[in-house]
């Protein structure tokens, strides 16, 4: 079953961070996942977490160059959530063998592996960022995440000129790199 054109458009929208597409996919699939999680020992928060993670996995899939979704978004999202939730339950020691397996699922193990690697990298970066302390964190976020110009940042952070701000930024960046790679290399 090839994903139809509406679904293709939605995925394309998702890959381009189009909020309308995100909203549509969210709305169409969240309740299904929520019902699944709630019926299988989960809470509302679990449902939200798992679903959003699946959305990220879908986003990654949509972004990859070799992207081909051979099933409906619904089936894919459900399959991801199902795997994620089973894993989570196992980790929490709440494994429930009553998980219903009546729904159609597609094999997502490979995608999840990639997703998990990305997730780990994200966590390392997040930890590194959070242990930087201010104003380093905000400065780097401003430059690398929000793509603000040096001049702009200098004004916002109260540096006397852009060069000083730039200097400070590089110092922060070096610390961040150190933090990141110490974790990253271990993790690798």
């Amino acid at each position: 079953m090839k994903a139809d054109t509406t679904e293709q458009a939605l995925l394309k929208g998702l890959a381009n961070n189009d909020s309308k597409a995100i909203e549509t996919i969210y709305k169409d699939n969240f309740s299904m996942v929520q019902a699944f999680i709630l019926h299988n020992n989960g809470s509302y928060d679990d449902a939200k977490d798992i679903f959003q993670e699946a959305m990220i996995a879908l986003y990654e899939k949509a972004q990859s160059e070799s992207f081909v979704l051979t099933c409906q978004i619904k089936t894919y999202v459900y399959s991801i959530c199902r795997r994620l939730w089973l894993k989570r339950l196992q980790q929490l020691g709440r494994y429930s063998n009553q998980i219903d397996s009546l729904d159609e699922t597609v094999p997502v193990e490979e995608d999840l592996e990639i997703h998990e690697k990305r997730n780990a990298e994200f966590a390392i970066m997040d930890r590194a960022m959070n242990s930087l302390g201010e104003p380093c964190k905000s400065l780097l976020e401003g430059y690398y995440l929000k793509k603000m110009g040096m001049q702009e940042l200098a004004i916002e952070f109260g540096y006397t000129n852009a060069d000083n701000a730039k200097n400070q930024k590089y110092k922060c960046l070096m610390r961040l790199k150190k933090l990141f790679f110490s974790q990253y290399n271990i993790g690798d």
């Binding site: 961070n17 909020s19 995100i22 909203e23 969210y26 709305k27 969240f30 309740s31 299904m32 929520q34 019902a35 709630l38 509302y44 939200k48 959003q52 959305m55 990220i56 986003y59 219903d100 009546l102 729904d103 159609e104 990305r118 990298e121 994200f122 970066m125 997040d126 960022m129 690398y144 995440l145 730039k166 200097n167 590089y170 110092k171 960046l173 070096m174 790199k177 990141f180 790679f181 990253y184």
Partner: protein, 368 residues
């Protein structure tokens, strides 16, 4: 400080901010200094990680925002009970495949069961059993056909009468008593036609719907009674496997057919009838079933719709009962004398038929 300058250079190099000369210089430097080369690779990778991190963070934020938005609009639920509607839809989505399969299986089973029920139901008049009387259209056509072929014979059917059904019948008394099936006589009157195409008016003398037999009396001046009947009517039951033959009018001409007695009882173990293996068609109803000795052993009546050649014949002993009933109820009638002696024993089949032909009639029932 050097590190910072280097980092800045790398970043500018990676983002493509260097001009051509600077770039060439940096590339040479990179080529000659493995440490710098390593730093470039590392930083490029790090920036890529930063990009991914940034994208993911933004996505997470927009997912959170979307969630909050949908929550506010009530398009997703959180906390409290899920609405019944949502749950039903969920269940439906979840199980629609199974439901569809179950429904179709159920449907098929229902059809099979009703099919079996119809198949085994004892309703004799159902579609399983076809009475071998003919439909009106067929007769109408036949009548026209006859009209063109035998012009000299004037129809005895009243002009404004409507033909209802047709079948066969045979003499049980040379005075003009004919036995046929009750279901053949659907209208208000009947004519009988002999094998030569002569029509005679007839009245119903006795009819028994349960036995599906009727006795007709020819009341016609044109009728010349035969001296005697060549066949007899068998009082006892007949054995399985007995060779049998029949004469009847499934079409305008008399038609011969042969077979054997296949069961002592009829449809659904009906003890009034036999099952015979013989090819019979609408119009054969009421026709005689003879054995090789020229004894009438039954009256053809119905056939099983789905099975080829499975035909049922009313046992001949019922003819005796019919005649007895008739003479008991109406003493004014002349006594019917059933033939008791067959003169056809050991006679060649062709000769048998020649002598039997005159005694088998085409029965047409009409309504005025």
């Amino acid at each position: 400080m050097d590190d910072i300058l280097l980092l800045e250079a790398i970043e500018r190099y990676l983002s493509g901010d260097m001009d051509a000369a600077e770039r060439t210089y940096f590339e040479t430097l990179r080529k000659n200094t493995p440490e710098i080369d390593q730093m470039v690779v590392e930083h490029s990778m790090f920036l890529h990680q930063m990009d991914i991190y940034s994208v993911h963070r933004n996505l997470k934020q927009s997912l959170q925002a979307t969630h909050a938005k949908l929550l506010e609009r009530g398009e997703v639920n959180e906390g409290g009970e899920l609405t019944t509607k949502g749950r039903v839809i969920q269940l439906w989505n979840k199980y629609k495949r199974v439901t569809a399969i179950a429904a179709s299986v159920g449907g098929i089973i229902a059809l099979v069961i009703s099919g079996l029920a119809i198949y085994f139901s004892p309703v004799v008049n159902g579609s399983q059993i076809e009475q071998l009387s003919k439909a009106i259209e067929v007769i109408k056509k036949n009548q026209q056909y006859q009209g063109t072929l035998i012009n000299e014979v004037k129809s005895k059917i009243p002009e404004n009468a409507k033909l209802i059904s047709g079948g066969s019948g045979f003499l049980i008394d040379p005075k003009g008593y004919i036995i046929t099936n009750a279901h053949v006589l659907k209208g208000s009157g009947a004519v009988v036609v002999n094998s030569k195409g002569q029509e005679f008016n007839a009245t119903i003398a006795n009819i028994d719907l349960e036995k599906d037999l009727a006795i007709l009396k020819i009341n016609d001046q044109d009728y010349e009674p035969l001296k005697s009947l060549p066949y007899s009517i068998r009082r006892a039951n007949t054995d399985l496997g007995e060779q049998i033959f029949t004469l009847g009018y499934p079409r305008n001409d008399i038609v011969y057919g042969e077979g054997y007695l296949s069961a002592r009882t009829g449809y659904n173990s009906d003890s009034l009838t036999y099952q015979v293996q013989i090819s019979a068609n609408p119009g054969n109803s009421g026709g005689p079933v003879f054995n090789n000795n020229g004894e009438v052993i039954g009256v053809l009546s119905t056939r099983q719709a789905q099975a080829e050649g499975v035909t049922f014949a009313v046992k001949s002993k019922n003819i005796f009962r019919m005649v007895d009933e008739l003479s008991n109820s109406d003493t004014s009638l002349e006594k019917i004398k059933l033939p008791t002696h067959s003169t056809l024993k050991g006679v060649e089949r062709k000769l048998q038929i020649t002598r039997l032909e005159d005694c088998v009639f085409y029965v047409k029932a009409y309504r005025k």
